[in-house]
């Protein structure tokens, strides 16, 4: 395993899954995907990830249940649940459990990456600017998240 952050993305919307995968790959993550909750749990059983990004409303095992099962496998797992605010009861359950982060769809990528950087904060991280600063809009900070053993620092 190299110094890339490993992310597992689970969503039943294939286009969403694919575009997230493309984005995170381009942002330097090692990406694996799952199309439902069960598959996400199975993947987690075989490998460890630095972060799991999962939709709340998925067929079969929903995001909250999958999150619970993943925590059984790895109590330290960092899980971010995505919600379209569809199922109020499920969302309440997710909030009550409080063992994962919740982001609203449509997800703002920069904020998501910041959240990942913060959530994975107890793991040593180095967050640095992307090589080419001028390629992005002024207001946004481009962050590449990389694992580093000694320290966690952020340079803008």
């Amino acid at each position: 395993m190299n110094d890339e952050l490993r992310i597992l993305i689970a969503d039943d919307n294939e286009d969403l899954l694919e575009t997230f995968a493309m984005i995170f790959t381009r942002r330097g993550f090692f990406v694996e995907t799952a199309r439902n909750g069960l598959s996400a749990v199975e993947k987690y059983r075989k490998h460890r990830y630095d972060v799991a990004l999962m939709d709340i409303a998925m067929p079969g095992i929903n995001g909250v249940e999958a999150s619970r099962k993943i925590k059984e496998i790895d109590p330290e797992a960092i899980i971010i649940l995505m919600t379209g605010y569809s199922d109020a009861a499920l969302l309440r359950l997710a909030r009550d459990e409080g063992r994962h982060h919740i982001v609203n769809k449509p997800v703002k990528i920069e904020q998501l990456i910041e959240l990942i950087a913060e959530a994975a904060g107890d793991q040593p991280l180095l967050v640095v600017d992307s090589d080419d600063a001028q390629i992005h809009e002024r207001t946004e900070t481009t962050i590449v998240v990389k694992r580093k053993d000694e320290q966690r620092q952020r340079v803008r």
């Binding site: 919307n13 575009t19 984005i23 449509p106 390629i135 809009e137």
Partner: protein, 361 residues
């Protein structure tokens, strides 16, 4: 009505009871109950009708007490002679009817039949109106709930494609940035901004349909209305005059009620947007209620639409989804009040919100 509680003169002894006026009065009350959708208006009207049915209306007065609230006929005086009867609805005593007369010879016999019949008619009319209100409220709540369900379903279905669009825009931006194509990057930024705009509509729809029970606190209406006015941008061609003095604080949910006020004010401003005009906001107290009146000089509401403006998804605007007033009415009712509108097309509109002065038991 010719209530026969007068002592009969000797020459009247053999005459049949004067039932014509009584029947007419009972009929009129029944009709008033059918025409009035709220109990307060009906009772106010009934006091007048009963008084008119008396042998000498100028020397008569009527007082109806309903669940502690008192309604009196115009120019009420407690004349020397009077009779009272309990008002009952569904077997429960809900108040009383009192008839006063200044005429001599009033016989205040307990159990006087016409007064009993009158009280019975008023009692059952109140029950009917209240049942209708409950039913209407349920229907409206159901309709809103259906809209809410639809909104939440559609919202979720839309948020996934919106997220895909956002992701695609992000990927495009990354690629375009490498090629240093500033114009294309700008175009992609517009795409992203519109995703936000679309998402805001979904959020509004969801927020509007999720109504939580009110959390009443002591609220100063003047402060609340001024806060609402601070939130809203008033166009230069509109003049807002607020006369908000002299009402005591009430117990209500400030967040919900300010949503109502903001909605009414925004509507008024939109109605005056092209021609300009004036918005008068006044407050006052009356019969157990605090009222807040918003009177604008805008385009007004067509008579045919007056009944419908409080229905969910009804709108005559180019923008908006038609939930503002539907939600406003529900919020006001949840807080124990009611909302009324008076308007004619081309002549402005007046919205009055009534909120109870004290928390109802």
């Amino acid at each position: 009505m010719g209530v026969r509680f007068y002592k009969k003169r000797p020459d009247e002894d053999s005459r049949p009871a004067e039932t014509g006026a009584e029947m007419k009065c009972l009929y009129e009350i029944g009709r008033a109950a059918g025409e009035n959708r709220n109990v307060e208006e009906f009772i106010a009207k009934a006091t007048g009708l009963v008084r008119e049915a008396m042998p000498s209306p100028p020397q008569s007065a009527v007082r109806i007490t309903l669940r502690g609230r008192v309604y009196e006929s115009p120019g009420f005086q407690a004349y020397a002679y009077h009779i009272a009867e309990e008002l009952a609805s569904g077997g429960e005593t809900i108040g009383r009817v009192e008839i006063y007369s200044g005429q001599d010879g009033l016989c205040l016999k307990e159990g006087n039949y016409p007064v009993k019949a009158l009280a019975g008619t008023i009692g059952s009319a109140v029950r009917r109106i209240e049942l209708e209100q409950v039913q209407e409220k349920l229907i409206r709540a159901e309709r809103l709930a259906a809209v809410g369900e639809l909104a939440s379903g559609v919202g979720h279905e839309l948020r996934n494609p919106l997220n895909v669009i956002r992701n695609c825009a992000y990927l495009l931006k990354m690629t375009l940035s490498e090629k240093n194509d500033a114009e294309a990057i700008k175009t992609v930024a517009v795409l992203d901004k519109q995703v936000d705009a679309a998402n805001r509509i979904i959020t509004d729809l969801l927020d509007f349909t999720r109504i939580t029970p009110p959390s009443p606190v002591r609220v100063d209406l003047k402060t609340l209305i001024n806060e609402c006015l601070n939130w809203i941008t008033v166009p230069s061609q509109v003049n807002v005059r607020a006369n908000l003095n002299g009402v005591a604080p009430i117990r209500t949910d400030p967040e919900q009620i300010s949503r109502v006020f903001t909605n009414i004010i925004s509507n008024a401003l939109q109605a005056m947007n092209t021609r300009g005009g004036e918005l008068d906001i006044e407050t006052g107290e009356d019969a157990g209620y605090t009222w807040i009146r918003f009177r604008d000089t805008g385009c007004g509401i067509a008579t045919a639409n007056l009944e419908r403006i409080f229905e969910p998804l009804f709108t005559t605007k180019h923008k908006g989804i038609g939930l503002g007033l539907a939600i406003s009415r529900r919020l006001v009712e949840e807080n124990g009040g009611r909302i009324e509108v008076e308007s004619r097309e081309g002549e402005g509109a007046t919205f009055t919100v009534r909120l109870p002065l004290e928390k109802r038991s």
